[in-house]
């Protein structure tokens, strides 16, 4: 069973300073705690790491953005060895709010100016080619990694052993192979690393919206906690045809209607008269991913049914739980934005 505790705090301070008054408002902060029983527990990583740079884009090329302002040197904010992404915020209205691109930190730091190079080959970019983002406001955030999210060594939140059989593991879903892959927390003496096969993935990225399963191989619960900022802009989530293992972009549960999981929605969801030929949302039922909702479409009416409960319609029920990761099975690839503009603003 999964238990999560989520709390938010947004700090607002009004500080009188001689003749002026400044108001300082922090980004909303969250803390999430997961109690993972022995076995498998899908968890939803919805909080984000604090941004290291924010700015307004002045100009773009095919793979760079240059920020407005004087004396901006991005190497002050970025570390060449860290993976970052650029996300369009809602500070300035932009049709690309919520879209993300991976940052090439090595080239950006080397350039040492106001121009940031993006990795336009990365499959996790939400738009394949860089549009004209002039005037858009963006945040640059570091990604979560296995190390920053779950810890290693003295900070480890999972149980590590020298054996892949007994060590705890984190499961991610490989979209290309359509199968889960494991990263075991292997610990022996001074060696404390996440290994996928024999590949060290300790510092590999866990992308925004990427689903995560904790495999607790111990006899007692594992407690996973982490803190981060709450995303206050929309969230773009590309979907491929087939299985997508995702989580929410913000810690807000929602209904299929709110998520635009309808044929007329942004995602152009596909419904039919049978489950296998329809788009589906599949949740963990305690022993497998078998709690299946599917979009039924008669041509004039749409329903979200659950295979276990017959004709009960869940289209306006809050079945999309932000605390978990779950599968979306799409008959066709989705548009680039899964639910870009319909989330309630915080």
């Amino acid at each position: 069973m999964l238990r999560t505790i989520l709390s938010f705090i947004s700090i607002s301070l009004a500080i009188p300073l001689t003749a002026q008054t400044f108001e300082v408002v922090s980004d909303p902060q969250g803390l999430q705690v997961f109690e993972c029983e022995p076995g498998y527990t899908p968890i939803g990583i919805t909080l984000v790491r604090p941004w290291v740079f924010s700015g307004t884009i002045e100009s773009v090329t095919a793979d760079t953005v240059t920020f407005a302002g004087t004396n901006i040197t991005l190497d002050t904010y970025l570390d060449a060895g860290v993976a970052y992404y650029m996300e369009v915020t809602d500070v300035v209205d932009s049709e690309y709010e919520g879209d993300r691109w991976e940052v090439n930190a090595t080239l950006t730091v080397a350039d040492d100016n106001a121009t940031m190079t993006l990795d336009m080959t990365n499959a996790w970019n939400t738009v394949a080619t860089l549009p004209d983002l002039s005037g858009a406001h963006v945040f640059i955030r570091p990604h979560w990694t296995f190390a920053t999210l779950f810890g290693t060594g003295d900070d480890a939140q999972l149980t590590g052993t020298a054996s892949f059989t007994t060590a705890d593991a984190v499961l991610l879903f490989d979209l290309d192979n359509q199968a889960f892959v494991s990263a075991s927390y292997i610990s022996s003496g001074a060696f404390n690393e996440f290994l996928s096969g024999s590949t060290n993935v300790t510092n590999d990225t866990i992308y925004p919206g990427q689903g995560v399963v904790i495999q607790n191989n111990q006899a007692v619960n594992a407690t996973i906690s982490y803190g981060g900022e709450v995303r206050t802009n929309d969230f773009a989530q590309p979907l491929i045809a087939g299985y997508n293992f995702i989580t929410e972009g913000r810690p807000i549960s929602s209904t299929p209607t709110e998520r635009q999981m309808l044929p007329a929605g942004t995602g152009a969801w596909f419904g039919a008269l049978s489950q296998p030929t329809s788009d589906q949302a599949i949740f963990w039922n305690g022993s497998s991913f078998g709690d299946t909702y599917w979009l039924a479409d008669t041509g004039t009416s749409q329903f979200w049914f659950n295979t276990a409960t017959g004709g009960t319609d869940y289209v306006n029920e809050e079945i999309i739980d932000h605390r978990v990761s779950y599968f979306i099975f799409r008959q066709n690839a989705g548009p680039l934005n899964f639910a870009p503009n319909e989330f309630p603003e915080l």
């Binding site: 020298a162 199968a179 889960f180 290994l195």
Partner: protein
């Protein structure tokens, strides 16, 4: 029967969707892996996961293993972590990887049944091909799982060193037997003459 009930009934009758399942095969890190002479294994060794198309592997049919072996995936022995750890993808359950078919881990420097080949074959009664349908979690085949045995070679699960030791195939005793038979044959021929 209203429309919703009809839809629900169709849904229950629906077939599951097919994805794939990852099969992890591994041993604990920092273990002692040696060949039959006591030499530490190097990167010339491969550890593979797979099954046999028709035979059940025993020490009586070693010469048939290579031709019957159906490999799902393999990794080179990891000389840094002193282990092997691989992940293979089973996309469907077409023959020979039908559900419940026994799976094995074969460690070798060559699959040829010839002088210089060193093998270890690991088996466990729980290593049966899983269903690839739906979205199953990875299937694990660990050398240190309870019940794992070496059909050829040695697996020491009691903390003894080496942890895994390959065996020479054909075994030296096999050649000794051949030589003995040859000598015996020649002796018989000589007597008849």
């Amino acid at each position: 029967m209203n429309f919703r009930s009809l839809i629900a009934m169709i849904a229950v009758l629906a077939l599951p969707l097919t994805a794939a399942v990852t099969i992890n095969y591994n041993a604990p890190i920092f273990q002692s892996f040696q060949d039959s002479t006591g030499t530490v294994l190097d990167t010339s060794y491969t550890f593979a996961v797979g099954t046999f198309a028709t035979l059940t592997p025993t020490d009586q049919n070693l010469s048939d293993w290579a031709t019957d072996w159906q490999e799902l995936g393999s990794v080179t022995f990891d000389t840094v972590l002193n282990t092997f750890s691989g992940a293979a993808t089973l996309n469907d359950n077409s023959s020979p990887f039908t559900v419940d078919t026994p799976l094995y881990i074969w460690g070798y420097n060559s699959t040829d049944y010839t002088t210089g080949s060193e093998w270890v074959m690991l088996s466990n009664t729980t290593w049966e091909t899983p269903s690839a349908a739906g979205t199953p979690p990875p299937f694990s085949m660990g050398a240190d799982q309870v019940g794992t045995v070496a059909l050829v070679g040695v697996l020491n699960d009691t903390g003894d060193v080496p942890y895994i030791q390959t065996a020479a195939v054909p075994e030296p005793s096999f050649y000794a037997l051949l030589i003995s038979l040859a000598v015996l044959g020649m002796a018989i021929l000589r007597r008849r003459r």
